[in-house]
Every structure is written in structure tokens, then in C-alpha cells.
């Protein structure tokens, strides 16, 4: 079968000692980064991008390293969620609901191992889904013309803002900020500068890496300074780490169901791991009913969101690889990585550079296994990492960000821009304006405008072409509008459960 042949191609690349080593390093780094509160997958991957670039790794190796970091960070996020009740990133919020109570009941080690296994199952099933689904979707993507792509980008922006935030106007503003920044620089079609004010430094436009590192990492430093590094020390003891086989057996159906749900949630552009873990938790809670004991520290309550969010993370890779539209914040950063490496995701990726895609998929499978093997014995080591105080960690993170960005361009102007983005990120987060749409806007703004113009050229100025070019375009437009408007009405119905407070 075609897929097996491709898979063996992928494995032949992925199983080379060099790539394996990179995968292990990536998983290790990623778990540490994900475990440290305040860092999270997006920040970690963002800070590492300039460094990966300057290391001069070739495309496949860089991709293997960064996706291992990505998956590792997802695994790592649960460590601080369960032990500290501080979600490592947004999807980990659901894990705190049952993970922390379970830890307080003295079953911290069980919770950690259980979530490790659930994450493995979710990620494995998602990777298999990716293998099956991606080539088919790539073939459909060939039919996408500029109008379809424009509608797809619109869908991503509308759903990303809509689902993740509480206030539609703020998400709209965030998207527009990102798109507006993307407009700065020389216009691709006409070759004339826009919004540069004659400043040579921004003639080239604003580099998305500068924006990402500034918005995520530098803003984090400001938040830590504001909070005076108040990090509650670990209030729960770890105890002996053993594998809770009975619990694992008990939750097997939960894991399968939530993986499927998470995978589908992840595929939708704009929705991502957060939605996956949220849907997984809520659905399992209603299936378990009142006697399920969700919220008091039940194994199902830990397994469900973990499997869900890892499956969603895998699912988010599907639209990113096949269509070039990120399914979540972290995949947006991965997209940035691909663009740095000069790889254009999309249907052509599968035909022109199959070794990249299949090598990536094979290494994802390997990374999943490596992570599972590493996590169970190394849990106590990672817990010790959490003891690193914030006043060493954050200056370190800042300096690494500076070095990373400086090594890319050597220009002090980019560093200034990065600090400016840091301030912007701080203000935006304070005001509850989501920052992920800003990143997405900077990444995709140019493409979105290009597609709009191409579509107009094809239709010779008829704006209705955007809607009517194919039924796909119309469907995407409807989905976009629904995705933007619906949360305003559903907000009362789907209430986000609040964090467990001590």
C-alpha cells in the first residue's frame, strides 16, 4: 500500500542515529520547558526557532527537533498542572481540575504516570490519524483556489479569536493588529513601500520571529516582575512512583473516545489543543454522570483531558501540513519554523518533499514512544527542575531570547522591536486581548492579501467570486461566520470550569 511505502521511507530517515538523538534531546528539552510554569510550548518552541536556524540544521532534522520539543512540552505541561495547580499552558488547565485534587489525595505519582500514558495514547492515535488523513486532505487541497484559501484563512481567524477568548471585539482587534503589522513593508505585488515612514529598518517588513519571541517570552518576564516571582512551592509530596495498572485499565475506553474527539477538534483551523481538552473533559464528565466524581481526583478526569489535548495537538498538524493553515497557537509557531526553513506547507509538500513529511511523521511516532519511556522513570527528576527559582530562570530565558534574535539578524533594531512587542504583549494580556491572533495575523497576513488579490484578478474585480467560486468556498465562509458569531450566544451554555482554588 502506498502509505506503508511512504512510512518505511520516513522510518529510514527517522531511525538514523543523528535524528534519533535529536528526537530524544527535543523530548527532554520540551518536557523541561513545558513543565516550567510560565514557559509553555509556544514560548519554548518560539525561543528555540532562531537557535535552530543558526545551528544550520537541515529541514528534516530541524523539524524532528522542534516537533519533539512541541510534544515534549505538551507532556511537560501536566507536571506543573498536577503538582502546582499551575497549568503549564492553556490546554493543561483541564488537567488541573482532577490532577491537583488527585495529588492532594496523595496520589500525585499515579496522576503523573496516568497522564503520561493517556498522553501517549492520544498522541499515538492522532499520529495514526495524521498518517491516514493527511495525504487525502492534501489531494483535496489541490482543488483549493485563491478564493478557497482566502475563505480558509478567514475561518482560521474567526474561530481562533472566537473560541479562545471571551470578547469577540477584542479577538477581532487582535486579528487586525496582526494583519496590520503584516502590511508594513514593501508590498509584494506592486513593489512599493507601505507604512514604513521612510525607515530603512522596516522596509523588509517585521519578522514574525521577533514578534513571537517578544509577545510570548519577553511579556512573560514583565508578568513575572509584576508578580514578584511568586511561585507557590510544591505543596504536594511525590511519593514512590509506580505504574497504576488498574487505573490505566479502567480508563482505556475513556482514552480512546477522547482521543477521537480531540483529534477532530484539533483538525479544525483555529481550534486547538485547548478545545480538545475542554471537549474531552466535558464529554467524559457528562458520560460519567453525577457518580463519576469528576473534580475530586478521579483517574478518568486526568486521562480524558490529557488524551484529548495530545490528540488535538496531533490533529492540529493536519491543516498545518496539508493546507498551511495553523490549527492552534503552537502550530502557528511551527508554521513559522517551516517558513524559516523555506518549506512551504501545502499540498505540494507531499509531492515535492515527501521525505520531509514522512520523516516527520515517523519521528513523531518515535518521539511518542521515547517520551513515554522517559517520563515514567524520570518524573522525579523533572519535579526537581520545577524547583529552579524564577529569579534565575526568567533572566536566563530573556537573555536566550535576545541572543537568539540577535544571531538571526545582528541588528539592534530587531532587539528594540522585540522589547516593544514584549510591552505590547503585556498590555494585551492584561486587557484580556488574545495574543495568538496577532501572531497568526503577522504570519498569514501577506498570504491572505495575496490570495484576495489573485482571486480578484481571476474574477476581474467581481467580489462575489470570493463566495461563489466553488461550494467549498461558500461552506468555509459560512463556517467562518458561524465560528465568529456562535460563541457570543453559546457563552452562557458552555461555561468554562474555573480553576480549583485551594
Amino acid at each position: 500500500m502506498d502509505m506503508l511505502a511512504n512510512l518505511s521511507l520516513g522510518f529510514s530517515i527517522a531511525l538514523s542515529p543523528y535524528t534519533l538523538m535529536l528526537a530524544v534531546i527535543g523530548c527532554f528539552l520540551g518536557t523541561m520547558i513545558g513543565a516550567l510554569p510560565g514557559l509553555g510550548p509556544s514560548n519554548g518552541v518560539a525561543i528555540l526557532i532562531p537557535i535552530t536556524f543558526t545551528l544550520g540544521l537541515d529541514a528534516t532534522s530541524a523539524l524532528v527537533l522542534m516537533t519533539s520539543v512541541y510534544y515534549g512540552a505538551m507532556y511537560g505541561g501536566r507536571i506543573s498542572s498536577i503538582l502546582l495547580n499551575i497549568p503549564g499552558d492553556e490546554p493543561a488547565l483541564m488537567t488541573t481540575l482532577d490532577g491537583y485534587p488527585m495529588a492532594k489525595n496523595g496520589r500525585a505519582a499515579d496522576a503523573l504516570v496516568l497522564s503520561g500514558v493517556a498522553s501517549f495514547v492520544g498522541a499515538l492515535l492522532a499520529t495514526i490519524g495524521l498518517m491516514l488523513l493527511a495525504p487525502t486532505l492534501a489531494r483535496i487541497a489541490f482543488k483549493f483556489g485563491p478564493a478557497e484559501y482566502f475563505a480558509l484563512y478567514l475561518l482560521a481567524f474567526c474561530t481562533l479569536g472566537g473560541v479562545a477568548s471571551n470578547n469577540q471585539a477584542k479577538s477581532a482587534i487582535a486579528c487586525c493588529i496582526g494583519l496590520g503589522i503584516a502590511m508594513i513593508g514593501v508590498d509584494s505585488s506592486s513593489g512599493l513601500p507601505r507604512f514604513t515612514g521612510g525607515n530603512m529598518h522596516i522596509m523588509d517588513g517585521i519578522d514574525f520571529l521577533v514578534a513571537i519571541v517578544g509577545l510570548f517570552a519577553i511579556a512573560e518576564v514583565f508578568f513575572f516582575i509584576e508578580g514578584h516571582g511568586k511561585n507557590s512551592s510544591i505543596g504536594v509530596k511525590l511519593g514512590k512512583v509506580r505504574i497504576p495498572w488498574s487505573d490505566i485499565f479502567e480508563v482505556k475506553w475513556v482514552m480512546l473516545r477522547t482521543s477521537l474527539l480531540g483529534f477532530i477538534a484539533g483538525i479544525l483551523p483555529g481550534a486547538g489543543a485547548s478545545l480538545g481538552s475542554f471537549l474531552a473533559y466535558m464529554s467524559e464528565k457528562s458520560i460519567a454522570g453525577k457518580d463519576g466524581g469528576f473534580g475530586t481526583g478521579v483517574p478518568k478526569g486526568v486521562a480524558a483531558p490529557e488524551a484529548g489535548n495530545n490528540a488535538a495537538a496531533g490533529g492540529a498538524l493536519v491543516p498545518m501540513l496539508t493546507l498551511g493553515v495553523p490549527g492552534s497557537g503552537t502550530t502557528a509557531v511551527l508554521l513559522a519554523l517551516l517558513m524559516t526553513l523555506n518549506i512551504t506547507p501545502g499540498p505540494t509538500l507531499f509531492t515535492d518533499r515527501p521525505e520531509v513529511v514522512w520523516g516527520l511523521i515517523a519521528s513523531l511516532l518515535i518521539a511518542n514512544v521515547v517520551l513515554l519511556l522517559m517520563n515514567v522513570p524520570l518524573v522525579s527528576f523533572f519535579v526537581r527542575i520545577l524547583q529552579v527559582p524564577a529569579w534565575i530562570l526568567l533572566p536566563g530565558v530573556t537573555m536566550i531570547s535576545f541572543v537568539g534574535i540577535y544571531s538571526l539578524s545582528g541588528s539592534y533594531f530587531d532587539l528594540l522591536l522585540m522589547v516593544a512587542f514584549g510591552v505590547l504583549g503585556y498590555v494585551l494580556r492584561k486587557l484580556d486581548v488574545p495574543t495568538v491572533p496577532v501572531i497568526l495575523g503577522i504570519l498569514l497576513g501577506g498570504h491572505m492579501e495575496d490570495k484576495l488579490r489573485q482571486a480578484m484578478v481571476l474574477s476581474e474585480g467581481d467580489p462575489l467570486y470570493l463566495l461563489t467560486s466553488t461550494p467549498i468556498a461558500l461552506g468555509l465562509w459560512i463556517a467562518a461566520i458561524v465560528g465568529f458569531v456562535a460563541p457570543m450566544f453559546l457563552r452562557g451554555v458552555l461555561k468554562k470550569p474555573q480553576r480549583v482554588t485551594d
Binding site: 477584542k170 496590520g180 507601505r194 537573555m399 492584561k430 486587557l431 486581548v433
Partner: protein, 146 residues
């Protein structure tokens, strides 16, 4: 005035400036039907509408930090800006040590650990980046060590 209203107002001003600036963009003679002005103007209009919504329906205010903390944040900001300017003429080790120390002090105000952190991070990161990852970092300012 609530923070949201203030932010909405700022965004509105910026959006209007954006639209005005967009109309000034030079257009070449070889042009597609949309042109380089349309998309920016579209974005500006959407931002303006959203900003108006924010002004008329503001969310409750977030917790802005106390003035002492604001001062800390401001110092951190100034140090970071100075770092950006200082990196080229002064090399890597000195500015990094100073910046890391100041940031560490801001997070946890103990002078000696902060200074140790600064120096430690500076040297440690330099070794890591220069020898482990082979990035080209200049350790000292040009005049000092040849």
C-alpha cells in the same frame, strides 16, 4: 476612564491613522483590481468598528500593578532597551551580566544572588552559545582584547 475604553480609543486613533496612511500609498501603473490600498483599509475599518464596540461595552478593569511595581517594570524596560543598544559596542559578557542581574533583582530583590545570577548566566550562556552551539558572539568590546 476604564482601561478597555482607553484601549478602544487608542485602537480607534491608530485605525484611523492606518486608513489615512493607506490612502497615501503610492500605486504603480501595473495594478491588479484590488490594489495595495484595499486590504489595509478593510483592516482599518474592522478595527475601528471593534474599537467602537469596546468603547461602548467595556469589560471590567484588570488589576494594574501598584506604582512601586510599575516602577520596577519601567526599570526593566529601560534596561532591556539599553541592552539592545549596548550589545554591539560592548560585546556580550558585560551587558548580559548587568541586564540579567537587574532583571533578577526586579523579580526577587536580593542584591547578592542577583549579581551572582547575572554573572553566572552571562558566562554560562556565552560558553553554551559559543562552544556548544557555535554561534558567533563577541565576548569583549573591541578595544579591550585585541
Amino acid at each position: 476612564m476604564s482601561s478597555d475604553r482607553l484601549f478602544g480609543l487608542v485602537v480607534l486613533m491608530v485605525a484611523l491613522a492606518f486608513i489615512a496612511s493607506a490612502t497615501q500609498v503610492q500605486t504603480s501603473f501595473l495594478q491588479d483590481p484590488v490594489g495595495p490600498k484595499t486590504f489595509p483599509i478593510l483592516i482599518g475599518v474592522v478595527s475601528a468598528i471593534s474599537a467602537l464596540v469596546m468603547i461602548f461595552k467595556p469589560d471590567p478593569d484588570p488589576q494594574w500593578p501598584a506604582s512601586r511595581t510599575l516602577l520596577n517594570l519601567f526599570i526593566a524596560l529601560v534596561v532591556l532597551i539599553a541592552y539592545a543598544f549596548a550589545l554591539k559596542p560592548f560585546g556580550f559578557l558585560l551587558p548580559t551580566a548587568v541586564t540579567a542581574a537587574v532583571l533578577s533583582y526586579q523579580i526577587s530583590p536580593r542584591a547578592v544572588p542577583a549579581m551572582l545570577t547575572g554573572v553566572g548566566l552571562s558566562i554560562g550562556l556565552f560558553v553554551l552559545f559559543k562552544y556548544a552551539l557555535k554561534l558567533g558572539l563577541v565576548p569583549f568590546p573591541k578595544g579591550v582584547f585585541g
